[in-house]
């Protein structure tokens, strides 16, 4: 039997949806029980090998060909700016990358801010968003708990992902502008797309069919 295709699965909020989606496409995926600390898991049918990665790393694994395929949020794909194919958008993981500030901040359009201090996990997209509007933000790169930054005076604004907006509201923050509408994306390595074209094509077609049913 041929080597399985390797697919990078993001650990976290997309994991369960990603496995469920692949299962609906007819691929054997690991059971919940197996999905513990192991980072490399083989599908029982020998067609896919799953590697569990940090969401932001998925595009890197795919670009280098360490994974033939990957699933990642469009937000991390655009932030990573890696040279990968994006054959499919997948119908889960919907969220928005937004600019938010304190609810009690003065009514002021972003474009007249002096040089806003912005906390984010997405420095590239943040920089691009503000620069396009003629502003030079002071970007503070954080690894998590970005909502905290305005509350304790570390930053004026944040750029972060929002699903329902509850977390923002609970922390006294308001959305000011949407940078990107995000959802899960299937990624493919440029070499694998060609060198293993039959298997990659089959997977794209199967998943596209599932996406259409959804």
């Amino acid at each position: 039997m041929a080597e399985p295709l390797t697919i990078a699965i993001p650990k976290g909020r997309l994991t369960d949806d990603a496995f469920a989606f692949l299962a609906r496409g007819g691929y054997a995926v690991p059971n919940n029980g197996e999905n513990g600390r192991r980072l490399v898991l083989d599908g029982a049918d020998g067609r896919l090998r799953f590697i569990m990665v940090k969401p932001a790393d998925a595009p890197v694994f795919v670009e280098y060909g360490a994974a033939d395929l990957g699933i990642a949020g469009l937000d991390v794909v655009r932030e990573a700016e890696r040279d990968v194919y994006e054959p499919l958008q997948l119908p889960f993981g919907y969220c928005r990358l937004v600019v938010a500030g304190k609810t009690d901040r003065p009514e002021m359009a972003l474009r007249v801010e002096r040089s806003p201090r912005v906390a984010t996990r997405f420095p590239r997209l943040t920089e691009a968003f503000f620069r396009k509007r003629g502003l030079t933000p002071e970007v503070i790169v954080m690894a998590g708990s970005v909502e905290l930054a305005p509350l304790i005076g570390l930053a004026d604004l944040i750029v972060d992902l929002v699903q329902t907006g509850v977390t923002l509201r609970e922390n006294g923050l308001t959305e000011l502008s949407t940078i990107l509408e995000s959802q899960a994306v299937l990624l493919a390595n440029r070499a694998s797309y060609r060198l293993r074209s039959d298997e990659v094509r089959e997977l794209i077609d199967r998943l596209a069919a599932v996406a259409r049913e959804t």
């Binding site: 795919v62 670009e63 280098y64 060909g65 360490a66 040279d83 194919y85 070499a191 060609r194």
Partner: protein, 432 residues
Amino acid sequence: MTTEMRSTDRPLPEGVRDLLFADAAAWRSMTTALHETWRGWGYREIILPTFEYAETLATDVGSQIDAEMYRFFDRHGRTLALRPDLTIPTARVVGTRLFDQPLPLRISYVGNVFRHEPPRAGRQHEFTQAGVELIGARGAAADAEVIALAVAALRGVGLPRFRITIGHVGFFRGLLAALNLPEQLTGQLRSAVSRKAEAELADLLAEAPRLASDVCAASRALLHFTGGPQMLHTADAFCLNLMMADALADLAALSGLLAAYGVDDAVNYDLAEVRDLDYYTGVTFEGFAPGLGFSLITGGRYDGLLGHFGPPQPAVGWALTLDRVLEAREVQGVLGAQPAADVLLSALGCPACLTWAASARALGVRVEVDPLGLAPDELWRAAQARGIPRTIAHSQPAGPLAASRLLTLRDAAGERPLAADDWIEVRQWLSR
């Protein structure tokens, strides 16, 4: 050596590297193999300057490479740049100096190029490119020669498995002409196609105003136009204009010639490869190898480039990144040997031994002479430490080396005498 004496506080700047013995030997053998292949096809080498006027090098390179160039000033304040590739300098040479030479010109080059891009897949800011240009010939025959030569070159350097994917900008350009979309939508469509984003492409087409059904069908099918030469027949049914039909006719002729060259098993086709749409004017191609996620070799036809430097001439060529081919070869299990001599010879106090060394070298044997005067046991240990399979020690230091005189040969099998004129034995060391 003690720790204090070690110089570890001499870091290299970002993006450059040293190639030590085994890597340097692999690099050298690879360029030698390339030159051999090129010679067999009638390509002649040119050696180009490392830096030129930035303005020249920036001709038609696209905004990305332009932004990645290393620029600096000469004494008169003119901006110079390290070459970011070798195609542009070659075009300059042809356009300004070789324009009246008999055509076609077949040119090859190897050289280091410099780009301020993030290091990826064995490619630092400085890396080695090797390539060819076939200038003054248009049509499938020239395209086929250059692609077949790319396959021959990769086979020649000993890369076991790879594949070259061939496209043609005419097909997509023709499709864009048939679509006739507003500029912004065209840009989005190009971006979606270049990322093979199928669903996004479908959404964009749904947005487009009043598309004829055949135009819509061809656009939707575009990303499926990949595979072997039989795919070209499938695509034939979707042609909307002469530009698309011409592109397919070019590729069909090309695929016939590639079969005759015996390289059809190493290529396939992809009509949706649209990366350098503005630079290329016809056939494009890109090579990939299992085990490496990045392309090794890129090329195509650029009939518009030479006109920037001199009389317009059709041109087709390719460049490979040597560093990536090296890495791909390694990943596929071809490992370069540590270069080592065939014999370590003790000659201190024995001038006649140097005569023996000269004769052995004339046979092609690699002889390393011990300059330290090591005793036989030390000599053997020194040889082992450097991967040299045998040593020769001499017993009687003075006097001429009579033909009958015995030297002491030692190898893995042990010690035995070797007559100074036993060249039959010495020749056997060559058949490794």
